[in-house]
C-alpha cells in the first residue's frame, strides 16, 4: 500500500517509525520542536524551520525530541558523544551551509573515532540537513556541500531524489552503525510522490536505474534526477534513449552501477547542482576514465553549477542551476 506524500512528510514518517521501533533513537537540533508547548497555554510547536519534524514531540516527548541552542558545533559534537555511548541520535543541521560552523564533530570525531580507537566504538549517528539552491536563499543557505562529507573517510552520505527513497534511505541511515549524512535537497523537498506505508529500507550504497535508455548515460542524484529525467524526455523526442542513473548514495559510491550503464552506452554525462571543483561529478568522471576507460566512446561531460557562490536574484539562480535543456544540449554535442 502506498499513498502520495511530499518528501518532507516522508521524512517525518521515517523519523516516526525509527523512533517507534528503537527507543534509543532521539532527535536533536535547532527548533526541531520549535518553541510552543509551554505549560498551560495553547501554543503550537513549529516542528522545524520547514515543518519536517512537526508532531514528533507530541508523540515522543521532549526527552526524545530536543531543541538545542544555536550551537551547531556543540550539538553535533554532543550527538557524536551520545552515539558513542549508546544512543542513536538523529541530529538536524538546519542548512548544510552551516557545516562551516560544525565540521569538526564530523571531520575529526564521528569519521575517525572508530578508526583511531582500533575499532572499539560505533557511531550510529545520522545528520539530516537541507542542501541546494532553488529558493532564492542565496550564497549562505543554498550550497550543496555533500562533496565535503562524501570526501571524508569514515562518513557515509546519501541523498534522495524522491519521497519514497527519502523514507527508505533515512530509515537505513538511522539504523546504520556509522555516521551518515542525509541530505535533503530543496529541489526535492516539496516534491510529492507515492510512498509505501510501513517500515522499509533503501540500502545505502546502491544506485537506482531510474530510466532505461541505452544510447547515453545520465547520472544524477538528489535534485538533479528530476532534471536528468526531463532531459531524457527531451532527448527521447529526438530519438536518443537515455539511461538515467540515480546515485542515491554519494559515499559509498555504487561504482558497479555507473560502470554497468557506461558499458552499455559508451557515453556519460553527470549532472550535479554543486560547484565544479572536487565534487561528485569529478569522481564519476574519474571513475569512467579509470575503470571504465575501455567503454568510453565520447568524452565524459559534467553539467554542474559554475565556480561561483549561489546568487540571490531569481534569474541568476535559475541560470546558475543545471537544467534539462543544458543536459540535453550537452548530450547532443557529444554527437
Amino acid at each position: 500500500m502506498s499513498r502520495k506524500l511530499s518528501t518532507g512528510r516522508a521524512i517525518n514518517e521515517a523519523l516516526r517509525i525509527a523512533m517507534e521501533t528503537d527507543p534509543d533513537v532521539i532527535l536533536l537540533g535547532e527548533d526541531v520542536v520549535g518553541g510552543g508547548t509551554l505549560e498551560g497555554d495553547d501554543l503550537e510547536e513549529m516542528g522545524g524551520v520547514v515543518g519536517t519534524t512537526k508532531g514528533l514531540v507530541k508523540q515522543f516527548g521532549r526527552d526524545r525530541v530536543l531543541d538545542t541552542p544555536i550551537s551547531e558545533m556543540g550539538l553535533l559534537g554532543t550527538a557524536v558523544g551520545a552515539a558513542a555511548t549508546g544512543l542513536r541520535p538523529v541530529a538536524e543541521l538546519m542548512f548544510m551551509d552551516f557545516l562551516g560552523v560544525s565540521l569538526d564533530p564530523l571531520l575529526n570525531q564521528a569519521a575517525k573515532l572508530r578508526y583511531m580507537f582500533g575499532g572499539k566504538v560505533r557511531i550510529p549517528l545520522t545528520v539530516r540537513t537541507l542542501c541546494g539552491a532553488g529558493m532564492q536563499a542565496a550564497a549562505q543557505h543554498s550550497q550543496s556541500l555533500y562533496w565535503i562529507t562524501a570526501g571524508i573517510p569514515g562518513l557515509k552520505t546519501v541523498i534522495p531524489s524522491n519521497p519514497a527513497d527519502a523514507k527508505g534511505l533515512l530509515l537505513a541511515a538511522i539504523r546504520d552503525d556509522n555516521p551518515v549524512v542525509f541530505c535533503e535537497p530543496k529541489l526535492v523537498l516539496n516534491q510529492v510522490g507515492e510512498v509505501p506505508e510501513g517500515d522499509y529500507e533503501v540500502p545505502i550504497g546502491v544506485a537506482n536505474l531510474a530510466r532505461e535508455g541505452g544510447d547515453v548515460s545520465l547520472v544524477g542524484f538528489g535534485g538533479t534526477v528530476p532534471i536528468a529525467l526531463r532531459a531524457a524526455d527531451l532527448l527521447a523526442a529526438e530519438g536518443i534513449q537515455a539511461d538515467v542513473l540515480d546515485l542515491r548514495s554519494l559515499a559509498p559510491l555504487d561504482e558497479e552501477a555507473i560502470l554497468t550503464t557506461l558499458e552499455k552506452t559508451g557515453s556519460l554525462v553527470v549532472v550535479d547542482e554543486s560547484t565544479p571543483r572536487c565534487g561528485i561529478a569529478s569522481d564519476v568522471a574519474a571513475l569512467c576514465v579509470d575503470r571504465g576507460f575501455d567503454f568510453l566512446n565520447t568524452p565524459v561531460r559534467r553539467v554542474t553549477a559554475p565556480h561561483a557562490p549561489v546568487p540571490f536574484s531569481a534569474v541568476l539562480e535559475k541560470a546558475y542551476l543545471p537544467s534539462a535543456e543544458r543536459v540535453a544540449a550537452t548530450v547532443r554535442e557529444l554527437g
Binding site: 518553541g35 538545542t68 550551537s71 560552523v101 532564492q136 549562505q140 541568476l316
Partner: protein, 321 residues
C-alpha cells in the same frame, strides 16, 4: 544627552523608514512579488538607530539575517536596497546578495549575514584594523540573543577583550531565536552577564527607547574611541513580526506580542518623549511619515522598472583582479 532638533528628526526619519520598509516588504512578499528568506526588523528600530546615529561612514557595522534596519540606520540607500530585494542589477549588491547579505561597504556597512554569529569576528577584525591603523574608528556588531550561544561569540569577545579593541557588541535580545524562547536556551537572565567571561564591560539598555540606547551606546562608542576597549551592550527588545515573512506565529503568546506592540512601540515612545520635551512638532513627524511613504513608493516603482542582472554577471565578482 544633547540631541539637536535636526538629529532628532534624522533619527525619527530613519526609524520610520525602517518600519515602513519592513511593512512594505511584508506586503510585497504576500503579493508574490519578492522571493527569498526575509527577516523583518520592525519593533527593534530604536536599537539600530540609537546606535548608528553616533557612527560615521568610516565606522564599521556588521549585521545579521535581520539586516535591513541596520542598513537603513547606517545610511545605505533605500532605493538601492529595494532594488536588491527585487533582484535587480541596480541593487546595492547588483542583485547577488539579497536580504540576508545586503551590504554597502561605502557606508561602512559590512553586511547582513546569513550565518548566525558570523558577523561577530568580522567586527573584531574591523576593530583590529582601526586599532592598528590608529584611525579612531570603531566597529559595531549587531547580533541576536540566539547568536550568543555560538562559539564565534565566545571566541571573538575573548579576543577583543584581550586586545582592548575599539568594538561595541550589541546584542538585540528580542526574546526569541526563531521559535524558541530565549530562556529555553540561555540560562542566564541577562545576556550582558556573559561579558564577565572576558572581563569585558557590559551594559543593558531598554531597546525600545531610542534615548536609552543612544546614551548607553554613546558611552560604549566613546570608550572604544578613547582606546578603553570593547563593551557588550544588551538591548532588550521585541520583534513585532514573525521570525521570517510567512511565520504563522503560533508558538508565541498573542497577549505578549500585543502588549509589546501596543505599549512599547519604539516609534510611539520616541514620539511621546520628543513631544513631552517640546523638541519637535507632531507636524514635523507627520511630514516625515509622508516623505517616507513617498520614498518607498518610488523605491518600489523604480525597482520594479529596473533591469534584471545580465546572466554573465554570475561569474563576475567571484575573484578580485
Amino acid at each position: 544627552m544633547q540631541l539637536s532638533r535636526e538629529q532628532l528628526l534624522d533619527a525619527y526619519t530613519r526609524m520610520r523608514t525602517i518600519r515602513a520598509f519592513e511593512e512594505k516588504l511584508e506586503e510585497l512578499v504576500k503579493a508574490g512579488k519578492l522571493g527569498g528568506f526575509l527577516h523583518l526588523y520592525a519593533g527593534e528600530e530604536a536599537v539600530a538607530v540609537g546606535v548608528c546615529s553616533q557612527l560615521g561612514n568610516a565606522d564599521i557595522v556588521t549585521s545579521t539575517h535581520r539586516g535591513h534596519g541596520h542598513c537603513i540606520a547606517k545610511g545605505v540607500d533605500v532605493k538601492g536596497m529595494m532594488a536588491e530585494l527585487f533582484g535587480r542589477a541596480t541593487g546595492v549588491c547588483k542583485g547577488k546578495g539579497g536580504s540576508m547579505h545586503i551590504a554597502d561597504v561605502d557606508c561602512g556597512m559590512l553586511g547582513a549575514n546569513g550565518i548566525v554569529g558570523a558577523g561577530i569576528p568580522l567586527t573584531t577584525g574591523a576593530a583590529l584594523t582601526a586599532k592598528l591603523k590608529k584611525t579612531e574608528n570603531v566597529a559595531v556588531c549587531f547580533f541576536g540573543d540566539g547568536a550568543t550561544n555560538q562559539g564565534q561569540f565566545h571566541e571573538s569577545l575573548n579576543m577583543a577583550s584581550n586586545w582592548k579593541l575599539p568594538a561595541v557588541y550589541v546584542v538585540e535580545n528580542n526574546g526569541f531565536g526563531e521559535f524558541t524562547p530565549t530562556e529555553y536556551v540561555v540560562p542566564v537572565k541577562d545576556i550582558a552577564e556573559r561579558a564577565r567571561s572576558y572581563a569585558m564591560r557590559s551594559d543593558i539598555a531598554d531597546g525600545m527607547d531610542f534615548f536609552d540606547v543612544y546614551e548607553r551606546a554613546g558611552e560604549a562608542i566613546e570608550r572604544a574611541r578613547r582606546g578603553e576597549g570593547p563593551t557588550l551592550l544588551e538591548c532588550k527588545t521585541y520583534r513585532f513580526m514573525g521570525h521570517f515573512v510567512g511565520d504563522p506565529l503560533v508558538y508565541r503568546p498573542k497577549e505578549e506580542a500585543e502588549d509589546w506592540i501596543q505599549n512599547r512601540d519604539p516609534l510611539q515612545i520616541f514620539e511621546a518623549k520628543v513631544a513631552e520635551a517640546g523638541l519637535v512638532e507632531e507636524s514635523d513627524l507627520r511630514e516625515i511619515d509622508g516623505a517616507v511613504t513617498r520614498l518607498l513608493e518610488e523605491a518600489i516603482a523604480e525597482a520594479e522598472a529596473a533591469p534584471l542582472p545580465d546572466l554573465s554577471s554570475i561569474l563576475a565578482d567571484v575573484y578580485a583582479e
